[in-house]
């Protein structure tokens, strides 16, 4: 009996219809789900309408890891406790190989599910992806359309021309004039 309460399972359905069964403690890492589960509706399949299956898998991985850390930190001498550095390294590894579109989806998911730690990881990753990039590179990365008129773009660049000095894309444009 006690075992069944310990391992209460929750089912989550991704936007593309896949159903994931996870322990309640894992689902509760997501504040949105936690609030919901506290209202006692754990037997239903919870639709996560804005998250696709591959993304939800990643989110669940993250939640599982959080559960592992917190459960072990209550015991003394726990081998899973991480130092600041290890946490950072773990976060980097977790985000390793995540491409820009997956990252966007992860951000939306962690935002929707209200998982602050994952959101922060995602934003840090995003900032590091943008770091050192020029506008066109950022556009390519995130599928953003440049909707400036050439005059507007010129003006923006001129406001802080120093930042664009080594922009290869920009040089090409200005020399073609």
């Amino acid at each position: 009996m006690s075992e069944s309460t310990e391992k209460k399972m929750v089912r989550l359905r991704s936007s593309d219809g896949e159903v994931f069964e996870v322990e309640e403690s894992v689902a509760k890492v997501a504040k949105t789900l936690q609030d919901m589960l506290e209202e006692d509706c754990a037997d239903a399949v919870i639709p996560i309408t804005c998250v696709r299956a591959p993304i939800l898998t990643k989110v669940i991985d993250y939640c599982k890891d959080q559960v592992m850390i917190s459960s072990s930190s209550s015991t003394t001498n726990n081998p899973n406790e991480r130092t600041e550095q290890e946490r950072k390294a773990w976060g980097q590894k977790f985000m390793e190989g995540v491409d820009s579109s997956t990252l966007c989806e992860l951000l939306v998911a962690s935002n929707f599910l209200n998982i602050e730690g994952l959101l922060n990881l995602g934003v840090d990753k995003m900032v590091s992806m943008i770091q050192g990039k020029y506008p066109q590179e950022i556009r390519d990365m995130f599928n953003v359309v440049n909707d400036f008129t050439p005059e507007e773009e010129e003006e923006i660049r001129n406001q802080n021309a120093w930042a664009f000095e080594r922009d290869p894309y920009y040089k090409k444009r200005s020399s073609s004039k």
Partner: protein, 497 residues
């Protein structure tokens, strides 16, 4: 009850939960969260289908986390949507936007750049970004042949040979006038215009951003006597604080919780009422550092700075090696100009926290600044909270040169060489910039009065420990010439675009 809840579609419940949650967290500032809570289900589904388009709130969260102005500027140029996020006054790069990221009481200025010495025949100034290790060359005719006597809140304090002193914002190019040098009432009749420019102001501290009405500039002058004077932007004259005989040898001032505190060379800590007739009260002394501290001969072996770190007032004590005759001068083969000797270099720092003010001032030594790093030197001292993933080192003291060398018969020494990163953890000093424009080309050419080998500073000391190169706007009390101009500057900007 249970059966009823089974009948309710899970979507409905989830939505209800979210509405309830929104009420609970209605005051949360995180734009992202509020986005999620405001979302209706159909909205979220639409979002899911065009998932590649980042929600606006997500973009603003990225904007808040961005630490390099160059990235910020580039992101602005991506598209209209991004421009509208990376621009509002909420995200003026250095004054507002960061508050949500660095929630502690930080006097702002999270983004210091090192401004390098001026060039000989060009009004281009180089800025070194310690976070990206890049040097940016920006044209600044406004800074041409100016002494920079300090920086704070994204503004620079500049002084020209015309004796005019003002505040200048390098990004918005705004200016705020301060009273001119003759209104200090200090006799400089025998000084040349260049001397006045280069060795009159030792340092100018701002008590708040010049865009605020209560901003005051506190000047420490002249270099070797370090008296204090205060003025507000727009004032006609500088008002002496402490009096020439009563209290001088000031080393730093700070606006701490609305009150102006100071620390002087002898370790006296006190407060000032600068409202109309400046009055100062000595409150207590720092614990003596060593026996030689009080001896006049060694007065230049310590420098002290005041800084506020997460609500606490700290005194940062900087200890120098300091030569008092030519046999003690330092040489180093790795100098940029090996023939030049220098008189001093920083050995170590100590940090004291103000533990209590009453009934008497009490200090405790701090060995660890936690996630904070402190910037001291020629600018208004400030603190930076190092967040995860940042390039900045935590628990460090970033220092620039605000000492000055002197000329002996055989040796010419100039300031500007003593800078680096001091780690409180292991006491090591690391160089952070070692490149061009460390010193003004005028010195390299030897245009310094009477000196045969002109020269200049700049060097790295030894292999593992180091002090860095950079000019500092300091000069010899006995009449040597100007030094290079530089300081920490950080950009307040973008808010006016």
């Amino acid at each position: 009850m249970a059966s009823r809840s089974k009948l309710r579609p899970a979507e409905w419940r989830l939505r209800e939960t979210m509405v309830a949650f929104r009420h609970k967290t209605g005051n949360r500032e995180t734009p992202l969260i509020s986005f999620a809570l405001k979302g209706r289900f159909f909205c979220l589904m639409i979002m899911a289908s065009s998932i590649m388009k980042l929600p606006r709130d997500m973009i603003s969260l990225i904007a808040e986390h961005m630490t390099d102005p160059k990235d910020f500027v580039n992101a602005r140029a991506v598209c209209r949507d991004w421009k509208s996020v990376f621009t509002t006054e909420n995200y003026s790069l250095l004054s507002h936007g960061w508050k949500s990221v660095f929630k502690d009481r930080i006097p702002r200025g999270e983004m210091p750049w090192l401004m390098l010495a001026e060039r000989e025949d060009s009004d281009v100034r180089s800025f070194f970004s310690p976070s990206t290790l890049e040097v940016y060359d920006l044209p600044f005719p406004e800074l041409w042949h100016k002494k920079i006597a300090g920086s704070a809140y994204g503004w620079l304090v500049r002084m020209g040979e015309d004796k005019e002193i003002d505040l200048f914002n390098p990004l918005t190019r705004e200016q705020r006038k301060l009273p001119p040098q003759p209104t200090f009432g200090y006799d400089t009749s025998e000084w040349s215009a260049m001397e006045i420019r280069d060795r009159f102001l030792a340092k100018v501290i701002l008590t708040s951003s010049p865009s605020k009405e209560d901003c005051m500039a506190i000047a420490i002058y002249p270099l070797e006597r370090t008296m204090g004077a205060v003025a507000r932007p727009g004032d006609e004259v500088w008002t002496t604080v402490g009096g020439e005989r009563d209290w001088r040898m000031f080393q730093d001032f700070i606006n701490y919780k609305g009150i102006i505190y100071t620390i002087d060379f002898h370790g006296w800590f006190g407060m000032f009422d600068l409202s109309s007739e400046p009055k100062g009260i000595k409150l207590g002394r720092l614990p003596a550092l060593s026996r030689d501290e009080d001896r006049w001969n060694y007065w230049d072996r310590y420098n002290k700075y005041l800084v506020e770190v997460s609500g606490d007032l700290l005194v940062i004590v900087r200890r120098y090696y300091s030569a008092h005759d030519s046999s003690e001068l330092l040489y180093d083969d790795e100098f940029m100009f090996p023939e030049v000797a220098i008189r001093y270099r920083t050995l170590l720092f100590k940090v004291y926290k103000l533990n209590q003010l009453e009934p008497e001032v009490e200090w405790v030594e701090l060995k660890d600044l936690g996630d904070y790093s402190v910037f001291v030197g020629q600018s208004t001292s400030f603190v930076y909270k190092v967040s995860g993933g940042s390039w900045w080192k935590r628990n460090c003291i970033y220092f620039t040169d605000n000492g000055f060398d002197f000329i002996s018969e055989d040796n010419l020494c100039l300031g500007g060489h003593d800078q680096g990163i001091y780690s409180l953890e292991d006491g090591s000093i690391q160089l952070y910039y070692e490149g061009e424009n460390v010193v003004s080309s005028r010195y390299k050419r030897g245009e310094i009065g009477g000196a045969t080998s002109p020269l200049v500073s700049g060097a790295s000391f030894g292999r593992s420990e180091a002090a860095a190169l950079q000019g500092a706007g300091e000069t010899d009390p006995r009449g040597c010439e100007p030094l290079c101009l530089n300081f920490w500057a950080w950009l307040d900007a973008l808010q006016n675009y």
